[in-house]
Subunit: 162 residues, 4 copies
């Protein structure tokens, strides 16, 4: 494998985050870049844009996997726009391309990404996001974090050798 193979971490979350979530996302992006990780996300606004802005501010690499047909839909901090044309099916590519996933807030799109990640055995760290129970029993697969730093550290520690 290429020595230059990037260590990729996904940041997922909604297009319309609260100010607190946006701040968390930017800090997560910043810290991922500082630690040399490459950021992958869905490439649009909100949490995705805040995370890319944070990563860019520290010289990090940012990948946006877009649902639509044009790279012009990417937020301005995406350096590598992947144009899929497959709509929400791109959610699957976002998480499968990562060694770990950090979920920040988010709605049903984010929930679908969490589900696809867990189904693929990819660790998910959660900041103010979904929690799950199945048939009345709590499912603890989403690993909670309280701060951006904690989320990034857990993600990098858990990043598997996929």
């Amino acid at each position: 494998m290429s020595e230059k193979r990037k260590r990729i971490i996904a940041v997922i979350g909604g297009g319309q985050p609260s100010p607190e979530e946006a701040k968390l996302a930017e800090e997560v992006g910043r810290q991922l870049a500082k630690q040399g990780a490459t950021l992958v996300c869905g490439g649009l606004g909100g949490v995705m844009e805040a995370a890319c802005r944070g990563a860019s501010s520290e010289g990090g690499v940012t990948i946006g996997i877009l649902p639509g047909d044009s790279p012009k839909t990417a937020n301005p901090y995406v350096q590598i726009p992947i144009v899929t044309g497959v709509g929400y099916a791109r959610n699957i590519s976002v998480v499968k391309s990562a060694k770990a996933v950090i979920a920040i807030g988010g709605s049903y799109g984010t929930l679908s990404e969490i589900a696809h990640a867990l189904q693929s055995g990819i660790p998910v760290i959660g900041l103010n996001t979904w929690s799950l129970s199945r048939n009345g029993q709590q499912d603890n697969s989403i690993i909670p974090a309280e701060t951006a730093t904690e989320a990034v550290n857990k993600a990098l520690n858990l990043a598997g050798d996929r």
Copy 2:
């Protein structure tokens, strides 16, 4: 629109259901067929096969939207195998093709289907399945049912004019 346009309801759930879940799925399939609905599912085994078997036993139409590359992977009660070749991205097609979704048990694949349905505004009825909370608050989007009859009635009542 064709007067012959089918009223399609999705049944989703895992490949390895409990005996109780399999029984529920078969009964759901039977009742959907009795009421003239067309069944769509992921086309494989477990809940999917039980639901198709139930629907077939009442002369219903069954559609299986398959993840792989061959119609031969469909369970024997699928009359119309749709072969997508797109893996889990087919989960999105299963729910988007339906006017309502009945979730029975299930694991993360089922959770991804629930998420995609809710994101698309398609009603989801749950039997022994996931429940969700977001940022500490219960999300009541999954409509609970206790019996196959209740699930089918709710699904048909809520089936929107998509």
Copy 3:
């Protein structure tokens, strides 16, 4: 396998056919239905609509695998709308779901479907459609037909046991 498993044939072609191509497509649809085959297509207008109209007029079953997010985009002769939300990636599902493909006219979308079918080893019958050469050598994989009857007969004869 279900004795009720449908024998599915795809009809592919452009959204803006010539009058002659539309007439061919309608006749192909009619003959497929007469011979008991189920029609699958991309579900939209032009060749797709003409073929569905022909099949419907003979009581045939019609499946439309749609690129977008709503069954309402299907032409009025589609009885079973499959809603994929994956854009042109649905072209792959159209051909993979069929045991043989009949291509009528068409532009680059049709060409992509021909390519995906040939890649999957699914026979393609061509009426006034693309022809191919590779590195200067004619590729004869597209089986030519002159009439709707000839195309349907060849498709049904070549329909593999996929």
Copy 4:
């Protein structure tokens, strides 16, 4: 838009190229890197690997958009593996992510990529690859090149402002 937004060019072609095609692909990769372009491809072997090897040897950035579920399927010269899990539907992402496409040899998978690119209005430069005619008339949309240098220059000149 980010000043750091990459200028991405796709190289497409088969997994089992002739020695001459592999040599062309490596030279194309090398020259794209020298001119500062980022290479995107399907991430596997053959033409894809040769192009990535060439680009890597000149310090270029290489993206591989993979059909399967693991980054381990990428060739060793892919620095950024995008893991789609959608099989051949990833072909669409390969070409849509590029501002121009260079096709080298190739079989039906490559033909599908050419078709998807032309459908999206993305320029395609051909080296020893498919040629097309439609309804008996030559289609000259694939721009021929004789050498790697000519192909790269044409691709960079035609790379649209997508």
